[in-house]
Symmetry: C3
Subunit: 234 residues, 3 copies
């Protein structure tokens, strides 16, 4: 009971600060008040909405629980009133955001397992819950979603936390254990990765042409081989 | 009965002219025939589809009612045959579009309340029904959705009409009253706002740093104060 | 039974090669590993996910069948390891891709009819199943979806195959017939269209102003007529 209360509070804190972040993005794009509302709601509630739409298990939590929409709107409203940049936001809230990221990933994985789906959908939808709102927000304002790179393992931490939740659930551990482990480990990793600028690798440089192409167009290979790896840096 | 027939007809008129508008956008982007079909269908049916997917209450109306898809396609087809610009469209259809906007907002709010959700989701989904198709269309062709600003209170009118519908419903007024009030008030406001170029305000200029930042980095404030408000116009 | 096995295998082959294609797009955009995963999953599973969300008939097949996600991930993983361009992909897989396109269109139409919806939604969702993943992928990386033109009748073939499936179903033909006819005819058409660069037409050049505008602003027409058709090429 105690843990569930904490989880709910952290979930809603995440909604608020993501609504606020959405509002900061709306300000940067010089949107009008309606733009703040849309981007704030999408940032704060988008991940859960996508998850619940995919789960097909009744109306989304964000619509049935009367707290979600007002709290997301409050975040956007604060961003509308106060001149807040994304950098200010990062400085003030990145710890809270790391915690909320993990809480959302745990909640998404739990909800997916509760509906009876398997471990892989649980990880997928846990991650989606955590990063889907921000990604949709970025799409709405026409930028490549930040989760695709250069963001201190943001999405990877969400996937890891969802995976931990799945493992704890498979081991029969009570909810509190999975939640605590996921949030503590995930938040710690996220904060370290954020400060040190850790990144996932980009694509490797093995040449598909070497492996597969040879069989298809062997005569073409000779000339091209000389210039090979020119576009690789190492 | 009479009113419901009128509402249905206006709803379908909205589908047709938004399909046509979508087709005009497709023409501007020089898409092929399939592009006209997709953009027309999204413009005409997108808002209702998003609403029904979020409500999770059976297949979307646009798929179960056999009139919606053909009418949206007819609109796109006309735009494919006739050289129609968005400006032509605005000149010819902005009154009809204002009416359809309000009808859609009313219908979205009613449907949300009928499913048993609260007043805030009803306003949110009423607005989504009215403006979601156009916003999705803009995303598909890579432009920032027009509802985010500079569009004569378009989205705000939808939100207001949905709110009026919610109030009338809460007061126990028969459907016809809420519908009539919403459509009449909303259309009038939209037409005035459109002609006079009324807009919602952008973000206010209160400095978040003054309110919150002081507590975080007090020593940094001194130097920055001199340059403060330079980027504010008033 | 035999045919259904073949269909399932071809469906999954489509998931794999579209995951791979998604990964190639991720490489071109220099996304990190998470980007490969997201774009791969969206490319391979997006069309079916959109269809199942719109059908509102239980959790999407891609989440309940344990093979879909791993196979899409495998495709993205291969693209992460091997340096694969979209051109390499086209050279190696376009026949397989044409087959998968048709299989997806058939499957989408069948599933829509099975839920009890009409022929037009069946064609719409059959096409969506076939091309929705690729279109969503293009949106995520900020390019106008390739299905909107210049792509060798890609989407049109999907619509045709879905329509053939609807016709076969209406005639009471067993599933195997509709599937076979659709896949054979569709694949043949796609391959010919691809090689010959066939395209759908863009919008026609009939002047809307001539047909409709005259009634609205007759006096303005005179001056404009001289400059008319200047923007038409033929």
């Amino acid at each position: 009971m105690r843990v569930e209360t904490i989880t709910t509070v952290l979930d809603l804190v995440g909604v608020f600060i993501n609504g606020l972040l959405g509002g900061s993005v709306a300000r940067r794009r010089e949107l009008d008040l309606f733009g703040y509302v849309v981007i704030g709601v999408v940032s704060g509630l988008g991940g859960g909405l996508i998850r619940d739409v995919l789960l097909q298990h009744g109306p989304p939590l964000a619509l049935t629980n009367p707290l979600y929409i007002p709290i997301a709107l409050a975040g956007a409203g604060v961003a509308f009133l106060l001149k807040f940049t994304e950098r200010d936001w990062n400085r003030l809230f990145y710890v809270l955001d790391a915690i909320a990221l993990c809480v959302w990933a745990v909640a998404g994985a739990q909800r997916t397992l509760a509906v009876g789906l398997g471990w892989l959908p649980a990880i997928l939808l846990g991650t989606t819950t955590a990063v889907g709102g921000g990604a949709t927000r970025d799409l709405l304002v026409q930028r490549v979603p930040a989760v695709f790179g250069g963001n201190g393992l943001y999405a990877s931490v969400a996937a890891l936390v969802a995976a931990l939740q799945v493992i704890c659930s498979a081991l029969g551990a009570p909810t509190v254990v999975g939640t605590s482990v996921g949030v503590v480990v995930g938040t710690a990793l996220r904060l370290v990765a954020y400060r040190r600028g850790w990144e996932l690798p980009g694509g490797l440089e093995w040449e598909a042409r070497d492996v597969i192409g040879k069989a298809v167009h062997p005569p073409l290979r000779r000339n091209r081989r000389r210039g090979r790896r020119r576009d690789g840096d190492d």
